[in-house]
Symmetry: C2
Subunit: 371 residues, 2 copies
């Protein structure tokens, strides 16, 4: 039997296709081959993935780039109806990304699953496996903030780009001003990821409802920089962020503009951007976070420990033990420790995954703007 | 040679993957097979689609449900490098959705293309073919509005749902109140479609910049209704729209709340919803539009022509000649004409496609709120 909450999550996740639908005006055109239900999450937290491909000779399921529940490709089995399937698990509660390979193809999204992570090099699918109770990233019946997408012409880059902004519950009905967190995605990611698979909006809704985090605005820019002869991508991003994104945000939103009320954070490629820009602009930021990243090229050796300890209210590092950047994160931790620079280093299980990045955000956000 | 505008659009469309990227902290994990560039839009408006699938024996490209540039599946050709490809066109300037079938599989999105249309039954990819100059749906260097996603708990349906809201340029910096258009997607669609492949935000930005449409707020709800024993989906949607979405919008946004400043429109399944709710609530709406739909079950025969002609400032119908609902739209036009009910009927070429729906919105929006 499904509980109400579970049903509600299924609906948001796009499971309606399975219910059938009265569509008096719009019969569905016949071009599309039938898609089986996929993924199907069973009550015991096993998950069945299915793909209709009657003429294929080999179909496999692959982890997405940013999860690791499969540990390598797993071949699927063809049924008499031409539907290939595999059942995985039981799985830990969480959110997992995956794709299919047909005839050794590039990883394809699941055509029956509406939940997608966009990448600069294409999409992957994801599935949520619920726990016994709500997780910190589960949509609960609490007041919700909103997520706004802005399209703008970057003067720095002479390009059309987009960024997203989370505003906390109550923002639109009031006149208060809010502190602001700049939050960056990783390489190949884009401005949509933190509010799709990253659940930053839901995590903050929950933290705010529980009184654990201050209501804040979160700005999620697009961090990929065009390659430029002799250029440095981090410098270019600094110019873009401070010259285009920040002025626009401060014109459009009721955000506080003093350094005590501004934080910066990022994952992977974005952690390098966070560190690069944050350390060069203590005039602008009082909090810096590095999710799954190290300190190479960040100029740690030149930092003034006393000045940094005075200026930064939190300097956060998070990394997973099996992350391919774990050594680099350890080196950053060691370098900071040796220099006497105060920081927090959280080491988790797992690797370079959204499970970890959601966890770090849930840990970092409550540290911000508390006084 | 690429013009600046063309480059800008490519970047927004996610073409950055092809440029390579300096990622000091985040080497890309090796799991993913290489994706070739796809789609590649040539200067002569031919488009090459590519898919890496060395072990496949049959790969085809298919039209998405809502475009018709291929007229049926087209088999692709395998190269020595395991990359299947096909070149189509020259194509008319526009935005086209498509997918791949490998081994007679369900239609899969292009794994190398970041541009996606979400459906309740899964995603398809789309490609933009630019014209010689900007089209009405091309992103131009004009002031841009914003698109906000709200998550809410529907009391009517006891479900978590989302809707999107377009606010016009200047909304966030001012205190003005705005008229509001409720705009519905079709069967299998969702609240994201009008602001992805539908380009409603860009179309309005352009119309407003050119002085052709009044600045307005556009509300785009999620219109799929759960099946309910003995229930009527249009009635359920009416309760959801008027009982949950509208009160929330009017609490969160500076919108005018008199009937003169409220319009309703939808495509396909949404056109039935627009007609059903609009005609039953002349107390709330002064404008009704039906994109690719008919009037079956809408109770046209019971309408009072004099009352309707007095109350409605525009009653708009748009349909394509090869649309599978064309007969139904013609019947609605005939029925309204015979009853003496004033309306506008636009007949276009083509079928049940986003090319038409964007066109109808571009024609309908300037009629709204002009006095």
């Amino acid at each position: 039997m499904m509980s109400t909450r579970w049903t509600a999550l299924l609906i948001l996740a796009g499971g309606l296709g399975a219910f059938g639908q009265t569509q008096p005006q719009a019969p569905k055109p016949p071009a599309q081959a039938p898609s089986p239900v996929s993924p199907e999450v069973h009550p015991d937290r096993r998950v069945t993935f299915r793909l209709h491909a009657p003429g294929a000779t080999k179909v496999a399921i692959l982890d997405g780039n940013l999860s690791e529940f499969l540990s390598g490709p797993k071949e699927m089995t063809k049924g008499a109806d031409g539907v290939w399937s595999i059942t995985i698990g039981p799985m830990e509660p969480g959110i997992y990304d995956y794709g299919f390979s047909i005839g050794d193809s590039s990883r394809m999204p699941d055509p029956a699953n509406r939940n997608l992570i966009r990448r600069t090099w294409g999409p992957t699918s994801y599935v949520e496996v619920p726990g016994d109770g709500p997780q910190f990233h589960t949509i609960r019946d609490v007041p919700h903030g909103a997520v706004t997408t802005h399209t703008y012409h970057s003067k720095t880059l002479n390009l059309v780009r987009q960024f997203r902004v989370y505003t906390p519950p109550g923002y639109q009905q009031g006149n208060a001003t809010y502190p602001v967190l700049y939050l960056f995605h990783g390489g190949g990611g884009d401005e949509t990821q933190w509010t799709t698979v990253g659940r930053a909006d839901i995590i903050l809704d929950n933290l705010i409802a529980d009184g654990k985090a201050k209501p804040m605005v979160i700005v999620m820019p697009y961090g990929q920089m065009p390659a430029r002869q002799g250029g440095n991508a981090n410098d270019d991003y600094e110019n873009e962020l401070l010259g285009d994104v920040r002025p626009l945000v401060e014109r459009l939103y009721r955000v506080k503009t003093d350094r005590a009320n501004r934080a910066i954070a990022g994952l992977s490629m974005g952690s390098g951007q966070s560190l690069h820009i944050g350390l060069r602009h203590l005039d602008l930021f009082s909090y810096i976070a590095v999710f799954s990243g190290g300190g190479r090229n960040a100029g740690i050796e030149k930092l003034n420990a006393a000045e940094l300890n005075k200026q930064l209210k939190a300097f956060y590092i998070g990394c997973g033990k099996s992350d391919f950047v774990f050594e680099s994160a350890n080196a950053l931790d060691k370098q900071l420790t040796e220099k006497g620079i105060k920081h927090l280093y959280t080491v988790t299980g797992g690797g370079h995954t959204w499970a970890n990045w959601r966890y770090y955000l849930n840990q970092y956000a409550p540290m911000l703007f508390q006084n």
